[in-house]
């Protein structure tokens, strides 16, 4: 992987219908190694389905998904190439964490001591012999991550890994994913929370209603989708408004009397005010929050809107 960009997960024209309902609609994107790629979309956007299609659990109606050039089902000892955490639980409630990992290890010819290693890594050593049915949501997630890491895979596909975790657990996952990406692994992680992805991911693939909405770096995403406005406070609002309007700015008044200026950058506003000898009390560039940017981007594709504005 020296200096050469290559893609590890490749999705081409992927579609999946459940009955009449289209879950994934001609979706294409690729995921590159050595970074965390966030897979973002509102609930019901088709994230889990896409992941299941990549992992060969569901059959697509059309299109292909490959990992390192091969469909998942053609991988030899797949857990040694790809580790996956699915959103739904995938553990027998009556079996201990240790035995769950042991049978998975045995299918791949992974030695027993690796089971102890991943249990240690996710912090479940103490409860390894307890039935997984008694695990909390967070412990269940940790067990899922242990299973994903079992084969030391270079690709990780994680569906909503922070779901149900406490702040400490969320921080743990965040750091783990970054560390794994820094080791050169491909991390593809879904979330419906933009703010979480902004802290973890470098790249974003955003979908809504099964279709691609954006395939971009996190920074580009934020810059492109946030409206830039400038908040201005001045005792001489009327004069400034007139001056700025002449320059083509759009000005509106906030409830507390401050001006919100669209279409002019803060330095320009400052210059204009200085030239007109208007006193400014505040001049603050505003940025839409990530969550607002995300909601704006996906607002057309949210499946279930709340009824009240």
């Amino acid at each position: 992987m020296v200096g050469r960009r290559r893609t590890l997960i490749e999705v081409r024209d992927l579609s999946k219908k459940y009955g009449d309902k289209i879950a994934v609609d001609h979706l294409s994107f690729s995921v590159e190694p050595s970074k965390v790629t966030g897979f973002l979309g509102p609930n019901g956007a088709g994230k889990s389905t896409t992941m299941r299609l990549i992992l060969g659990l569901d059959r697509p109606n059309s299109g292909t998904a490959t990992i390192d050039g091969k469909p998942y089902t053609k991988l030899h000892d797949p857990l040694r190439h790809v580790g996956a955490l699915l959103e739904a639980r995938a553990v027998h409630t009556g079996r201990s964490a240790y035995n769950h990992l042991l049978y998975l290890a045995q299918t791949q010819g992974v030695p027993r001591r690796r089971v102890d290693q991943v249990l240690e890594l996710v912090g479940l050593t103490e409860v390894a012999r307890k039935r997984a049915g008694g695990f909390s949501l967070g412990m269940g997630q940790r067990l899922g991550i242990a299973a994903a890491l079992l084969g030391d895979p270079k690709v990780l596909i994680l569906d909503e890994p922070v779901n149900g975790l406490d702040p400490e657990g969320i921080l743990w996952i965040r750091n783990l994913l970054k560390a794994l990406a820094a080791e050169g692994r491909t991390i593809f992680v879904s979330s419906h929370l933009m703010s979480e992805m902004a802290l973890t991911a470098e790249h974003l693939i955003v979908i809504g209603r099964g279709r691609l909405i954006a395939d971009t770096s996190v920074r580009e995403f934020v810059e492109r989708s946030s409206k830039r406005s400038v908040l201005v406070r001045t005792p001489d609002a009327g004069k400034l408004t007139a001056g700025l309007a002449e320059e083509g700015a759009e000005i509106s008044k906030a409830e507390d009397g401050a001006l919100i200026v669209l279409g002019l950058e803060a330095p320009r506003i400052g210059e204009l005010a200085a030239a007109a000898q208007i006193v400014l009390h505040e001049l603050t560039p505003q940025r839409a929050s990530l969550e607002e940017a995300f909601m704006e981007l996906t607002s057309d594709s949210v499946e279930f809107h709340g009824g009240v504005q």
Binding site: R59, T73, L75, P78, R89, V91, R95, G151
Partner: protein
């Protein structure tokens, strides 16, 4: 953060592919309680009902000989078949339940997704599961068959003598293991097709305990043949030492018919496993 120790995972995988899957299925089977409960119940029910039925028969011997001469004549011709018919007939229900659970519990808990991620070609997993489960049931069943036979023959001793060296008796003892292993696979196949625990168990038990035996009541020659070729009815002949006068099939033919049914059902289960979304 060091997340990995390369040497612990890399390197050549141990053992041939299918051997690893057998090992994994063995781990799955031995690491849940339902396996132990079912097998303990198999032992208790088989010994219990053998003692109960054989004991009742011995105590009612003279009365039965008058009331049901045909039945008693068959008993005297094939005491081994009678002994196994009593205990195993009920004991097999635990194998029906376990056979279903071995596969439906993977679906009900969602664990099937982990299993299929590990073996995405799917069919080798089903094959390994069948092989391990059938082998375990066969071994346990044989461990029960011989004590059951000795228990029954000892209780019958005052009325009719039968020993392991009599014609067909050893084959009947081995037949118990063969039959229960096939019952297990039969139930596993149904579980694989239906995927739901309650529905599969109800279906299998209703068939084995009610529908198949009731088919005896079908009228005429056709009815007789239909009944003879039903899976568990045909298969259970392997547990008889001497072929009954009315039996349409020989023990091995009967077992062959049962095996054929089971193979067809497993083929359907395999086809659906490949086709369906997990």
């Amino acid at each position: 953060m060091t997340t990995m120790t390369q040497e612990a995972v890399s390197g050549k995988a141990h053992g041939p592919m299918f051997g690893r899957l057998l090992l994994a299925e063995w781990t799955k089977l031995r690491s849940v309680r339902s396996t132990y409960w079912s097998l303990i119940l198999l032992v208790l029910i088989t010994f219990g009902f053998t003692a109960l039925f054989v004991g009742l028969t011995v105590s009612q011997w003279d009365k039965s000989a008058k009331d049901n001469p045909d039945q008693m004549a068959q008993l005297v011709r094939d005491p081994a078949g009678f002994i196994f018919g009593a205990g195993i007939g009920f004991g097999q229900l635990t194998i029906c339940v376990l056979g279903v659970l071995v596969i439906t519990s993977e679906y009900s808990t969602g664990m099937i997704r982990s299993s299929l991620l590990a073996v995405p070609t799917r069919l080798p997993m089903l094959a390994a599961k069948c092989a391990v489960f059938a082998a375990v049931v066969f071994v346990i069943a044989e461990l029960i068959a011989f004590p059951t036979f000795f228990l029954g023959s000892a209780m019958l001793h005052s009325k009719v003598q039968v020993s392991l060296s009599d014609p067909g008796v050893l084959r009947a003892c081995l037949g118990v293991g063969l039959y229960l292993a096939m019952v297990g696979l039969f139930a596993l196949a149904i579980g694989g097709i239906v995927r739901h625990t309650a529905g599969s168990i109800t279906g299998v038990i209703a068939f084995v305990l009610v529908i198949a035996p009731l088919a005896q009541l079908l009228p005429g020659k056709t009815g007789k043949y239909v009944h003879a070729y039903l899976p568990t009815e045909a298969g259970s002949l392997i547990g008889k030492a001497v072929q009954g006068k009315d039996d349409v099939l020989t023990p091995w033919q009967g077992y062959g018919v049962f095996a054929l049914w089971t193979v067809v059902l497993l083929a359907v289960a395999a086809y659906l496993l490949r086709r369906r979304d997990a």
